[in-house]
């Protein structure tokens, strides 16, 4: 069994110890068709949020979707608002990525498709009232073992912005969230972004970005690329949270 990076985390602003989220980023997968068919067949073992990584720009992008879905199940269960629009928390994560309310479209756009090469696999364990794992099959080890034996992948990447940036397709992201179209109105995205941008360049967040993604972003967008990438992330998160794109 190949080595597999699995990130396990808790998100704030949910009841403490109410859940664990397990995330793996798997590069160059070879059996997307199989995974998708099992998912469609309703095989419970395959109940994961399987996301095509080309649609994703950052860890926050993913985490906002997970948070949104979890607010539905975890908060909904203790009487508060919430509830799911789709079958389960995993399909809800995929739907949460969508900038509109079309559920079936959200699966074909953001979920795994037959030609998916790079995969983000997410398993959520919702813990019971006594805050213990409901079944051992959901523990981190079980998730790791399942993914390692079921997904045929080339490489397991860590769940970091750098790794996701490497497998994301910014053109696709812009299409999905209708961002390129908007930028086209004012000209080439890079240039439009850079022109009036002197004021923003010195903002705190730019100085903060020490992750080394900067160089890659510059290559993609030209000078000032980090700012454009950030604008895109802000829009993507706002659009998916508000379901604002028709």
């Amino acid at each position: 069994m190949a080595a597999l990076n699995l990130t396990t985390l808790n998100l704030p602003h949910l009841p403490p110890n109410s859940h664990n989220v397990h995330i793996a980023v798997l590069k160059e997968i070879r059996n997307a068709e199989h995974l998708r068919s099992q998912l469609l067949a309703g095989n419970d073992d395959y109940e994961y949020a399987f996301i095509d990584a080309s649609n994703i720009i950052s860890t926050k992008h993913i985490l906002v979707a997970v948070f949104k879905a979890l607010r539905g199940v975890v908060e909904g269960s203790d009487g508060g608002p919430g509830g799911l629009r789709t079958r389960n928390v995993h399909s809800e994560i995929v739907f949460s990525l969508s900038p509109n309310n079309n559920i079936s479209e959200s699966f074909t756009r953001f979920g795994i498709v037959d030609k998916t090469r790079n995969l983000i696999a997410i398993k959520v364990e919702v813990l019971t009232a006594d805050r213990t794992t409901p079944t051992t099959s959901l523990s981190a080890d079980a998730v790791r073992q399942f993914l390692a034996t079921t997904v045929e992948f080339g490489e397991s990447l860590p769940f970091t912005d750098e790794a996701l940036y490497g497998v994301s397709d910014l053109e696709t992201v812009q299409q999905r969230y209708k961002y390129l179209a908007i930028n086209k109105e004012v000209g080439v995205v890079g240039k439009a972004g850079i022109k009036g941008r002197q004021g923003k360049k010195k903002s705190a967040d730019v100085a903060q970005n020490t992750s080394g993604i900067g160089d890659a972003q510059k290559q993609k967008w030209g000078e000032g690329g980090e700012d454009i990438q950030k604008d895109l992330e802000v829009w993507v998160i706002g659009a998916m949270v508000m379901k604002i794109v028709g």
Partner: protein, 313 residues
């Protein structure tokens, strides 16, 4: 399959400890790089497969500090998604004196309408060229990024703005006769700086109106000046906040009323603030281009109506 392994709670504590000790990220929009705790699981039986790595990140109980309590909303400083990422939580609690159904509807409406306007405006301002206001460079205009909305609960999570409100800046600048010994980062130190700030505010409002957004409650507490990062040259970015009463409109009248509301807010702050507001209008008219004069004429009418109304009592 897995031999010696820490329990999950150990992991959580480890993660929490290492994460808690991190300083706040400051006024960043972009989320800082995630911090992880790595734990190697050592396999118990040979032959050893490559060791899988578990990364745990956790913040079960984020700190939530009440910073302001207005008539409409409670404002908290907190974190979002990761412990090192600061955020503002704006919560509109239910009001006991309102009919419960009406109350829930009103809360939901204000919440969604504010968040929607913020998201749209942020995009419009990002793509518009009116980003750098003023010839000194620096100090564009924006609105907080929206992170999450729970309209049923009346919550908006948004970008934390490190800086001061215009109200705070004016209070410091106009109420203190002696110069401050240690002026806060966003506070202009000279009269000239203060006047320049006013023109920039005018341009910022023009930028908002140019994308057809009406604020609806334009007061000096609803304009923030972001503190520039230490050592960075240029002026702090202007950030327009509190769009709960905002609307989309291109009408001169609506724009003029925005300006009128702000003018009243200025005048009620300090007598000298009136002369400051003239600079706001200069910046506004310049920023608005052709439409500027039209809105100015409307403003005169709105003022006149306002006076008449107050005379009639």
């Amino acid at each position: 399959m897995v031999g010696s392994c820490m329990t999950f709670s150990d992991l959580e504590i480890l993660a929490a400890l290492s994460i808690r000790s991190l300083p706040w990220g400051g006024g960043n929009l972009m989320f800082p790089t995630l911090k992880y705790v790595y734990l190697l699981h050592t396999p118990s039986s040979p032959p050893p497969p490559a060791p899988p790595i578990t990364i745990t990140m956790s913040d079960p109980t984020p700190i939530k500090t009440l910073i302001k309590q207005g008539a409409e909303a409670h404002l908290y400083r907190t974190t979002f998604l990761t412990p090192s990422h600061p955020a503002l939580l704006k919560h509109r609690p239910s009001k006991a004196y309102r009919h419960p159904i009406l109350d829930a509807r009103l809360t939901k409406h204000r919440c969604l309408s504010e968040a929607r306007l913020l998201v749209r405006m942020r995009r419009e301002l990002d793509r518009s060229r009116i980003i750098s206001v003023g010839e000194r460079g620096g100090g564009g205009v924006t609105v907080p990024a929206v992170y999450f909305v729970d309209e049923a609960r009346g919550e908006i999570y948004m970008e934390w703005i490190t800086g001061q409100t215009l109200r705070e800046v004016l209070d410091q600048a106009l109420l203190h006769t002696t110069p401050l010994t240690s002026s806060p980062p966003a506070c202009p130190s000279t009269q000239q700086d203060l006047l320049y700030l006013m023109t920039r505010i005018g341009s910022a409002i023009a930028a908002m109106h140019a994308v057809h957004v009406i604020h609806g409650d334009l007061t000096t507490s609803n304009i923030m000046i972001r503190a520039p990062p230490p050592g960075a040259p240029g002026d702090g970015e202007l950030v327009l906040i509190d769009f709960g009463l905002g609307a989309v409109s291109a009408s001169d009248e609506d724009m003029a009323v925005d300006l009128y509301v702000l003018e009243r807010a200025f005048i009620s702050t300090h007598p000298r603030a009136e002369e400051m507001f003239k600079e706001v209008l200069v910046g506004y008219e310049k920023g608005m281009g052709k439409k500027g004069a039209q809105v100015m004429r409307r403003l005169a009418e709105v003022r006149f109506r306002g006076r008449k109304r107050s005379m009639l009592g």
